[in-house]
């Protein structure tokens, strides 16, 4: 028993394989079965640009036209969402913010309805950004919680808006007068998108 092949095949491949199958196949099967979930691609998600995206264009028409020639289109919105998500990952926002509301600890009162699996069946949640640490609040239902202006002020220096904040400043994504760069637009578009896939009648 205590030989090479045992540890190679039984432990190395076998035990790993069993756990992998159980942790992959079961959740995947029952999620599909009970939630009947359709996967949404980025194009589908971005089909109708959000009101906040339109507002960004109205507030900063010149810069917006430079960054997104053609104005508010689904393609530009898709581009913004993708870059926003990339930055959210690249700047490790997901290590300070979670993206799911649990049914415990009164989280519904704080942030809104508990998250459900179907909300994550889309390109902007592949891989998911649930996070494991909440230094800042959960952002799963962020859309509409704050205005664009609030976000800009907050990114430039969080302490100006929320004095106790320990969130880093991201002033380098904005001009001194608050005009966003491409990254600034993208982050705000992405944050104002979070929670869109929730459907109260689901």
């Amino acid at each position: 028993m205590e030989r090479f092949y045992t540890f190679f095949f039984v432990a190395g491949l076998g035990c790993f394989g069993i756990a992998f199958l159980l942790s992959m196949v079961f959740p995947w099967m029952s999620l599909n079965e009970y939630h009947g979930m359709d996967y949404q691609t980025l194009e589908q998600l971005a089909a109708t640009p959000s009101a906040e995206f339109v507002e960004l264009q109205q507030s900063y028409p010149v810069r917006f036209e430079e960054v997104y020639p053609g104005g508010v289109t689904s393609e530009n919105y898709a581009k913004a969402l993708q870059l926003g998500r990339d930055l959210y990952i690249g700047q490790a926002c997901f290590h300070c913010h979670s993206q799911f509301v649990r049914v415990v600890s009164n989280e519904q009162q704080r942030w809104g309805p508990p998250s459900e699996a179907y909300e994550y069946m889309n390109a902007l949640n592949q891989p998911h950004l649930w996070g494991t640490r909440r230094v800042g609040p959960d952002v799963a239902r962020l859309k509409g919680r704050h205005t664009n202006d609030w976000h800009i002020a907050h990114f430039i220096n969080p302490k100006n808006v929320v004095p106790y904040s320990v969130m880093p400043a991201y002033a380098y994504y904005f001009d001194a007068d608050g005009t966003p760069h491409e990254e600034g637009f993208a982050l705000i578009a992405y944050l104002q998108w979070l929670g869109t896939t929730y459907n109260p009648t689901h």
Binding site: F4, C93, R102, E119
Partner: protein, 482 residues
């Protein structure tokens, strides 16, 4: 004992083990550890409002946080464990690793991976997989490259390691393997498989909640199926050798190994409890996690029974002291697991500093301690010099031990406070302001690790430069006399 474990040496006169490569890996390991700790320290300053580069995009706190964890895992632990494997596997099998040139190739591939990973983090190329943030190199959902595909490089690195070490293991396939080799054989396969699974499936195949189950498994397997087996493997090698007595119970070793192999990976989903992952999958993970604590106890008991009658080694041998301090932290962490995995605890402590304390106790308090202990044994033999200073060794040990104890306590306390505040619907400001004092203590305890590590590194450096030749015989006479 030390001589008896190894079968007859190859007779062609070439050495069984290359010390150069071990030295390279050990140096790389401690350098990575220093980078990792410094990054962690800087990140903790962000929480106190004293982050030194607030205006830098390249070195933003988020990037530094990625430096911290990835350098600890892929820099310090992988380099360290590889060094140990180079020392241990040929000795236990009696065969050399595949090749000296391959060894250098692997070394440089891993260091290249590390450098490119750090550069990738600075350029916002991280991947959304905790502990596996190493860049995929592809634009999401496409096969367009936007950076070096580090994930694939890591898999290549892991496969090269398999070729390197499975040559002696395979040649020795007719031998009865010693416990260490059980862990090492499986550990290297698990590393490659885990990495492949965790970085491919959620990224390309399964979105959302189903993918989350796999990323949970990935976080878990990386610690449980790579770091833990390598750690226990080296414990089973070094402890009996230093104590010059066999492990107390062979059956307990067998139980420990197979229970780890079977139960451990089943608990993966417990990183995302009370989430959109189906409840019955969560319950499965919770119960196997609790089951594993029983087994952990058998392993720890086995080691402490081995120490029986040789307690004085804790005073006289620094290696043993590191190993057993690590084992105590291991037991504490695992004991904690059995409780915190339940929904009752999860409600309160998930998302808080409690988890951060838990992670530090296992990654630093246990596995890093065990590597420090291995370095204590290996370094004088590798550089063939006596340790330069015993006092520095003590400083390293006590600063690390007191540091991790304080860090664990402070983070656990702030985790509990914040957890209950979250439940009590306190405003978010309360959670930040009430954590603040604990975060100050956390920064100081982290500083203690760094100073400790610097003592250790300085000691290694001075040892390598000293003129006092290492005398194996004298070492053993001294050990036995005590």
């Amino acid at each position: 004992m030390a001589h008896a474990v190894a079968p007859p040496l190859p007779s062609d006169g070439k050495p069984l083990v290359s010390y150069t490569i071990i030295r390279m890996h050990l140096i790389a390991a401690v350098v990575c550890m220093l980078i990792s700790m410094t990054a962690g320290f800087l990140y903790s300053l962000q929480f106190l409002g004293y982050y030194p580069f607030p205006d830098s995009e390249l070195f933003s706190p988020g990037h530094i946080r990625l430096f911290h964890t990835n350098m600890a895992a892929y820099g310090w632990l992988v380099n360290g464990f590889t060094a140990v494997a180079y020392y241990v596997i040929p000795r236990l099998t009696g065969y050399r690793v595949l090749g000296e040139k391959l060894a250098h190739l692997i070394f440089w591939v891993w260091q290249l991976i590390l450098v490119l990973t750090l550069v990738g983090f600075c350029l916002n190329k991280a991947q959304a997989i905790e502990w596996g943030e190493t860049p995929t190199g592809f634009r999401p959902g496409t096969f367009e490259m936007n950076y070096v595909p580090i994930d694939l490089l890591i898999v290549v690195g892991a496969v090269l390691l398999i070729f390197q070490f499975f040559t002696p293991l395979f040649k020795a396939r007719d031998q009865k393997f010693y416990v260490t080799l059980w862990y090492f054989t499986s550990g290297f396969i698990w590393l490659a498989l885990t990495y492949l699974m965790g970085n491919i499936i959620p990224e390309w195949v399964l979105p959302g909640a189903a993918g989350a189950a796999v990323t949970g498994l990935f976080i878990h397997d990386l610690v449980g199926l790579y770091v833990t087996p390598m750690g226990w493997g080296l414990m089973y090698f070094f402890v009996p050798m230093i104590l010059r007595k066999p492990i107390w119970s062979h059956s307990l070793s067998v139980i420990g190994f197979w229970a780890l192999a079977f139960f451990y990976p089943l608990g993966g989903v417990h990183h995302f409890l009370i989430s959109p992952i189906p409840d019955y999958v969560e319950f499965g993970a919770i119960s196997t996690t609790i089951a594993i604590e029983v087994v952990v106890t058998t392993v720890v008991v086995n080691f402490f029974m081995t120490l029986r009658g040789k307690w004085s080694a804790l005073y006289t041998n620094m290696g043993i002291r590191w190993f057993y301090a690590g084992a105590v932290f291991y037991f504490l962490t695992c004991f904690q697991c059995a409780f915190q995995v339940t929904w009752t605890f999860q409600k309160v402590i998930h998302f808080t500093d409690w988890v951060v304390g838990h992670a530090h106790m296992i990654m630093f308090g246990t596995f890093s301690f065990w590597l420090y202990g291995s370095i204590d044994w290996l370094w004088p033999r590798i550089v063939k010099r006596e340790w330069y200073s015993t006092a520095l060794k003590s400083w390293h040990f006590w600063l690390s031990t007191i540091g991790i104890t304080v860090m664990f306590l402070t983070l656990t306390m702030s985790g509990l406070i914040v957890g209950f505040m979250q439940k009590g619907l306190n405003p978010w400001s309360d959670m930040i302001t009430s954590s603040y004092p604990f975060w100050i203590v956390r920064t100081f305890s982290g500083g203690m690790f760094i100073v400790g590590l610097m003592c250790g590194m300085y000691n290694m450096w001075m040892t390598a430069r000293s003129t006092k030749e290492y005398d194996e015989e004298a070492h053993y006479i001294a050990l036995d006399a005590k």
